[in-house]
Symmetry: D2
Subunit: 336 residues, 4 copies
């Protein structure tokens, strides 16, 4: 680790840093540049979290040489992780398309949609029973009844399903029905929830927080892994930006960057990124072309009757046409 | 509510919107502008959440006339709310200064700091027993033992204390010790937690999420209020920005804006916004000048030994000097 | 145009707005919602720029119904514009790939690169003679000598070239050599320069400003068009974001959004967006898949000797491999 | 300078970097950390701009130890610069308040406003003759006639005035009338213009670009200084953010940060940051409290008749009340 001292730092302040570094077994060398003492402390373990280096008197800047020490990192495992969800292998050789309505609104809506996306070639089903909403006065999901409808849709189509959980006390319930558990963007930094889904066995779909850097997103995955659950799939879904023409700024750069930093599969949710139907197919095509392991697409048989996010849902015919493009692009970008 | 139809919208599509608006009792008038039909639906209740208006075929844009219908909003109550925390009245005529270490690290550290900030004129104590951290491998707080030390610091100084809660299952425990409960920036959108603190009686300090608009922050407060707890204080603590010279971009504009939109008190946390000690006093002075009801300041007797966020903590002498400035500025900006 | 009055607006304040709207020939209707008077003024011309509506006493919010009135807008022309640059048709049925070094550094570097990208199938050449740099102490370009080298590269390969201009006084010079003129991201809001390139005949490549919304980017194009030059190509090249893993946040959402709002071709520059070579191919593939009319790719025969932006340049072999992918993806996304 | 090699870097790649560093006279030392070779090259001059270090094969990360080498930097001069504009000393012991309309719209408007702000205690006058506007169809300023009116206002009140220049070919004209020249936010990266104002003698007010980091803003000032003009005042005026409740996100953190990095005076423009009158006084108070050397305030005798930015202008009475607060806060924050 490199520690740059302030031009006015005293010899005592430098000595204190050196001594502290040595107390962790570091070999320390000093050099001078731009009127500053540069302290280089080297040791096998990561020093950056061992002490509040930037709090020491006389320190101008702390520059860790390596970010790392994470089990979800490439340094820990160089092969790509493949996450198995029933018959579906996310991160494997074929593209994973998860489709369905944003929320389960009723039995007929869910079953109709499930059959339509199954026919069009989707691999997995989505549909939430617990919805985090910006306003407390809007539809918050059907709860357990919604999970039962999802289970029925799974029986009907053979497709596994993923459902969101928003409360650590509901993890056991959701896990008892769903094939995969989703942590939404609002809860990426909810560490109580991350730990709880880390303690159960179902694979986890972890959405990126709206203002999270790629590094922070990977740190959130580490919270899940650390509790014992290595089956994690990252999902880019747009970050907060200044342009209001779409709901979020889809950050496709994050896909190759995350794949360089971690061995986890990375998917993209263009529907929630866009918030508007007309640009969803273009963004989905781009997501596959950038190298994502799959996409999540909102599909609704009758968007204008949707209780949640109807404006971004494709109708089944649009989804079927999109599937054909995604498979063709995937065949060029692959062999995965 | 105003709904602008697409230039290519059919008469049937317009009729469908009109009919839907009328089904909620709205009086509807139509006009034409820029080749578009403009539908104006007027009724006493708020229509925007009643149907997915932007999902209807032919709709180009939905423009709600009024944002509102929130109990924490100025429309609901025009007088300022004063939140009482033991002897301290936040939002009242005097400035509230909450000070202490970021985390409780031990008995001596906490008691020393408590006495120092008390002497300097602070009104309340801060110090966390449960810490949400970016990495799972760093110090996560002392838990219940930390709360007991905080209670001892309260006895010693007579100052009430606020502590963070990060898991809905810990709310009862934290509330049994603390005088006020804090929801941190990572959990502003954790609705399970918001509802849980809304169901207990202790006042709530609600930090703004790192990527939350002012409107979304107020919506989060509504989640707490809706469960029965009206004693909420908002805290601006910096949003995510592109400049890396400080940890966050302190958004002081949000203070007067939030005070126009809600009747809740608004405080500022310059320490967590800055992440570096040298600019904390300047930002604290600005926070008081912009009209905040108070500030939260990290103080640590020995920042280089701090386990969490030492780089941003003032030492007690710096804090005492700052207190004098804050009181002087407050006397100009007030009578509150 | 819709003007929402403040709940406390007086009848006189409402009357004043009504009268002002009527003075422009608008038909005015009034309604009430949420305790506010809603004024709806309708007329053929766009009213929003006619008066400072939000400056009138009693006004709470101004909501223009239509954004528009721009010659570069879809309302003005519904067919796609095709911009002809010598033999190259940008926005036509085939993908346009502009490649070359960031800056012309010397004769050999430029000619070698030109031949290499020509062999790999590029349609046009890039290379700058005038470089805007963050620091005044770095290489600023070869000036006129650089333009002469570019002209030689054109003769050698038959490919037209685009070069940046950064000073209105250099427009004539650059236009006398180049086949197309580029306005860089730093100058998207430099209206003196926009007007100057609008007054000459060569087509213009207009990069999006680093903090410009899609609407503001289109407004910048309107400055060029308004002076008489309709041959404008928009280039998305990344916006300022909070994640530092790449130099910018490439905003591919802007591509379909801009194509809905304007009839101009839209290209993407993944090299300047990324600032790092390893993710450029993935972003280029995504750009084609999202529907861009072409891409700009930095290519350098020896990136570690580059004077400008070597870290983002592909070597010729990498570029040739990428070309094959881009053509394949283009054939799926098209028929253009 | 520290260069971290990739874990897979070959000995030849390391040797190449070492040799290149030595070619600039650097003393090089190597260490190992986290499986990476860390190369530390030390020399008196700044190495970071000498070669494209991140373009060399095998390099993972380049970490300059010192940012610097700028004449506007604290390393170059530790004393605060005071910029003299006629009788006004910006950066000196007293607060500088520059006030006036956004644009000169006519003789009466300008003279009335000048007298009003003079009476209220302003030190300098603002008012533009050349206006950069987002749309080419809105008012663009009175040009030379506007400058003549400003000169008349100066004669009337004795106050020097600042006016914006947006075209390098107008610098001489504006400089022949104005006491100080302003570079607006849209042109902070317009290096042709920066160089031109650097070549004349009038002091320069340099606004921060909407997406510029503090470092980039200081680099822009260096462009002016490098041409021979050291009389530069920085102005923070809000950056692009995601919240739409004000026009920009005023970044007051940038004020103390910039003052640590440069010796130039730093002012704040709360009017253009806010874009709405009701929060301007609060932001102005905060700007003075955070330590700015002064503020720019839009004042208009009749905001609803303003051709530009009326919504953010204070009326003269509001301005006079604000002046009293600013002076009181300044007296607490100072002795400057």
């Amino acid at each position: 680790m490199i520690i740059v001292m302030h031009p006015d730092a005293t010899p005592e302040e430098v000595a204190r840093i050196v001594e502290k570094l040595q107390s962790f077994g570091a070999v320390v060398s000093l050099s001078t540049e731009g009127g500053r003492t540069v302290v280089n402390g080297t040791v096998e373990t990561l020093l950056q979290d061992e002490a509040p280096w930037d709090s020491f008197p006389g320190v101008e800047r702390v520059m860790p040489v390596v970010r790392g020490g994470r089990r979800v990192g490439r340094d820990f495992r160089s092969d790509d992780t493949v996450v198995q969800v029933g018959p579906v292998a996310i991160g494997g050789r074929s593209l994973t398309v998860i489709a369905g309505p944003c929320a389960v609104e009723g039995r007929e809506q869910m079953l109709t949609t499930a059959q339509a996306v199954h026919r069009a070639g989707a691999s997995m089903l989505r549909g939430d029973a617990f919805k985090p909403r910006t306003s407390p006065y809007t539809f918050q999901g059907l709860g357990k009844a919604g999970l039962e409808i999802l289970a029925e849709a799974r029986s009907l189509t053979g497709m596994p399903f993923v459902a969101e959980v928003i409360d650590p006390r509901d993890v056991e319930l959701v896990a008892s029905y769903a094939d995969m558990i989703r942590i939404g963007t609002r809860n990426m930094s909810n560490q109580a929830l991350l730990r709880e889904v880390g303690r159960q066995a179902k694979p986890v779909l972890l959405k990126r927080g709206r203002a999270a850097t790629v590094e922070e997103w990977i740190d959130a995955a580490e919270y899940v892994h650390t509790e014992g659950n290595p089956n994690i799939v990252l999902v880019e879904r747009g970050v907060r930006g200044f342009d209001t023409s779409a709901r979020n700024t889809l950050d496709l750069t994050a896909v190759p960057v995350a794949k360089l930093l971690t061995h986890l599969p990375v998917m993209v949710d263009p529907s929630h990124a866009a918030g508007r139907r007309d640009i969803v197919p273009a963004l989905a095509r781009a997501a596959v072309a950038v190298g994502a392991d799959g996409v999540l697409i909102d599909v609704h048989p009758q968007p204008e009757a949707a209780l949640v996010d109807g404006a971004q849902a494709l109708i089944p015919d649009e989804f079927a046409a999109l599937m054909r493009d995604l498979e063709a692009i995937s065949s060029i970008v692959g062999p995965r």
